[in-house]
C-alpha cells in the first residue's frame, strides 16, 4: 500500500504543481486554509487562477487577488468576516481585473456534488427570481420533467463544478496519504470533486487512519490525495479548529494594510520575507 501513497513534498514543491490557469477550489476561512501554499503561489506569481469558494472565500482569495494571481472568482461571497469587506477583491472588481461568477452557497455545494457523482448537472430549489440567474448564464431554468400531470414546476439546474485542484490544510495525515479532516466534510467533497488534491498538514502520524474506526469516519482516503506537505502552523494566521486560534491582530493588520495598493504591496513584501523559502 505504501508504494501507491501520494508523495510527501515540501510546501514550495507542492505549490509548484499548481499551474497558471488552474481552477482551484478553496475552503472557507472556518475550514482548513493552506496559507503556507498561498504564500508560495504569491511568491511564484502564479497567474490566471480561477478560484472557487466552497462555498465562500476570505483571506486566501483576497491575498491571491492582491498578488495578481487571479483571473476569476466563483463564490457565494468574498469577505474577511469580522474584519470587514475583502479590500483587494473589491478593488479588483472596480478595475475589472477579475471576472466574477457570483453564486449562492448551496449552488456551489450542488455543483461540486455533481462532479463528485460524475453527473453533468444538479437541480436546486430556490434561485428563481434572483438576479444571480441573470449574471450566471451557465445556470438554467427547466420544467421539472417529473412534475405531476402537466403541472408547471420550474427548477434551476446547475452545471457540475470540476476543479483542477483542491487545496487545503488539515491537522494530520498518515504515511499512506490518508488525511484526517473530522467534521469538515466540505474538504472531502472538494477532494472527491477535483482532478487533483493538494494538502498540507500539521503532522504526519504513525499507523493507518483508516484502521481506527473513530478516526476513519473523518478521513479522506489516500486515493483522492495527489500530494502532501507538512506545514506546521500552515493555516496561520487564520487558525485551525482544535489546533490553534486565529491571530486576530495579524488578520486585522492585513485587513487594514490591504485597503490600498501600496499598503498591500508592503504587506506582501514583508509577508514573503517572513515565510522562509522551503524549496
Amino acid at each position: 500500500m505504501l508504494a501507491s501513497a501520494p508523495p510527501l513534498l515540501t510546501v514550495a514543491s507542492l505549490a509548484q504543481r499548481i499551474k497558471a490557469g488552474a481552477k482551484v477550489v478553496l475552503p472557507p476561512d472556518y475550514s482548513g486554509c493552506a496559507m503556507a501554499v498561498v504564500a508560495e503561489l504569491m511568491r511564484a506569481h502564479v497567474r490566471d487562477l480561477h478560484l472557487v469558494g466552497a462555498p465562500v472565500l476570505g483571506f486566501q482569495a483576497d491575498q491571491l487577488i492582491g498578488a495578481g494571481c487571479v483571473a476569476r472568482i466563483e463564490s457565494a461571497a468574498v469577505t474577511l468576516g469580522e474584519h470587514g469587506l475583502a479590500p483587494r477583491f473589491t478593488a479588483a472588481l472596480k478595475t475589472g481585473e477579475i471576472e466574477m461568477w457570483d453564486a449562492t452557497c448551496p449552488a456551489i455545494h450542488a455543483g461540486l456534488q455533481a462532479a463528485e457523482k460524475g453527473v453533468p448537472f444538479m437541480p436546486l430549489r430556490g434561485l428563481i427570481g434572483s438576479d444571480l440567474l441573470r449574471v450566471r448564464p451557465d445556470w438554467k431554468v427547466i420544467d421539472n420533467p417529473l412534475a405531476e400531470d402537466g403541472r408547471r414546476d420550474p427548477i434551476v439546474i446547475l452545471p457540475a463544478i470540476r476543479p483542477d485542484v483542491a487545496l487545503f490544510h488539515a491537522a494530520k495525515a498518515d504515511r499512506h496519504g490518508n488525511v484526517w479532516i473530522g467534521i469538515r466534510r466540505e474538504l472531502m467533497l472538494m477532494a472527491h470533486a477535483s482532478r487533483s488534491t493538494f494538502v498540507t498538514v500539521e503532522e504526519i502520524v504513525d499507523g493507518n487512519l483508516l484502521h481506527d474506526p473513530a478516526l476513519a469516519a473523518g478521513t479522506i482516503p489516500a486515493l483522492y490525495v495527489t500530494a502532501l506537505a507538512v506545514a506546521s502552523g500552515g493555516s496561520a494566521p487564520i487558525g485551525l479548529v482544535d489546533c490553534y486560534a486565529p491571530d486576530q491582530a495579524a488578520l486585522a493588520a492585513y485587513a487594514s494594510a490591504a485597503r490600498s495598493d501600496d499598503g498591500f504591496a508592503r504587506w506582501l513584501d514583508h509577508h514573503l520575507e517572513k515565510v522562509p523559502v522551503s524549496a
Binding site: Y30, A76, G81, E82, A86, A103, R151, I183, E186
Partner: protein
C-alpha cells in the same frame, strides 16, 4: 421596566417572541443579534427549541460539512432563519451583491460580500426574519439594485418559505406575503412613526395605532444579560464585549 437598554437588546427582545413555539431555529455565521434572540427564545422554551448556530463550537450540530445547513433546510427541518441585506426593499427583496446599475455588473458602485445562502434559504425556510441595524434610506430602498433573493414568487414557484418580518434599530415591520408589502408593526421606544417614514426608502402601510415594541421584563433582561450573554460570548466574543462588557 429596566432602563438603558442597548439598541441591540431591543432588537433581540423584538426577535425572540417571533420564534416562540418553533422546533428548530438556525442562525448564520456572524449574526450575533439573531443568535442572541434565538438563544433567548430557546431558554424561554425550557430548552424544547433546538437552536443551531453556524460557526459555534457548541451550538452547531452539523456533521456533514458546509452543505448540511442547506440540505437540512431543504428537508423542511429548519423553521426559522435570519437574513440581512446591503439593501432591502419594500417587496422584501434583498441585495447582498452590490449597488449601481446591474448592467455594469460586476463593477458595482459599492460591492457587498455576496449572496451567501440567501437565494436558497429565503425560499425554503418558512419563517425568515430580516434584520438590519442601520435603518436609513440608503439601506431600506424603494427597489434593490440587485436581487440576491426575491421577497415573493409567482404561484408556480416551489416556495414553502419566505419573509416574516424586518427588524431594525428603529422599528419592526411585518410582511404580508399576499400583498408583497410591509406594514409598521411596532416602534422602538422613543421612535416616532414620522421618523421611521423619513428614514425608510420604501413605501409601507402604517396602521392608525402603532404600538411600542414590547421590551423585555426584568426577568428576561436578567436572563439575557447573564446566561444568554455567556452563551453568546462563546460564539460572538466581540459582540458580547461591546454589548455586555463580557
Amino acid at each position: 421596566m429596566p432602563t438603558s437598554l442597548a439598541p441591540a437588546e431591543i432588537m433581540i427582545a423584538a426577535i425572540a417572541p417571533m420564534l416562540a413555539g418553533l422546533d428548530h431555529v438556525a442562525v448564520g455565521a456572524q449574526s450575533p443579534i439573531p443568535g442572541s434572540a434565538a438563544l433567548l427564545a430557546q431558554a424561554k422554551s425550557g430548552g424544547r427549541m433546538r437552536v443551531s448556530v453556524l460557526g459555534s463550537r457548541d451550538e452547531n450540530p452539523f456533521t456533514d460539512g458546509g452543505r448540511e445547513l442547506f440540505d437540512c433546510a431543504g428537508q423542511g427541518r429548519i423553521d426559522a432563519f435570519f437574513l440581512s441585506g446591503g439593501q432591502i426593499d419594500g417587496a422584501a427583496n434583498i441585495n447582498l451583491v452590490g449597488t449601481g446599475d446591474i448592467g455594469a455588473y460586476p463593477k458595482s458602485d459599492q460591492r457587498f460580500p455576496g449572496s451567501f445562502g440567501s437565494a436558497y434559504l429565503y425560499f425554503v425556510v418558512p419563517r425568515v426574519i430580516l434584520f438590519r441595524e442601520e435603518h436609513t434610506p440608503r439601506t431600506l430602498v424603494e427597489k434593490v439594485d440587485f436581487v440576491s433573493a426575491p421577497g415573493t414568487s409567482a404561484p408556480e414557484i416551489y416556495r414553502p418559505g419566505g419573509p416574516h418580518a424586518l427588524v431594525t434599530s428603529r422599528c419592526v415591520f411585518a410582511f404580508d406575503r399576499g400583498a408583497a408589502r410591509f406594514h409598521l408593526q411596532s416602534l422602538h421606544p422613543g421612535v416616532t412613526a414620522a421618523a421611521v417614514r423619513a428614514a425608510t426608502g420604501f413605501a409601507y402601510d402604517t396602521p392608525a395605532d402603532v404600538p411600542t415594541t414590547p421590551l423585555p421584563d426584568a426577568e428576561t433582561l436578567t436572563l439575557l444579560r447573564t446566561d444568554i450573554a455567556r452563551l453568546v460570548a462563546a460564539t460572538y466574543p466581540g459582540f458580547a464585549a461591546r454589548t455586555w462588557g463580557l
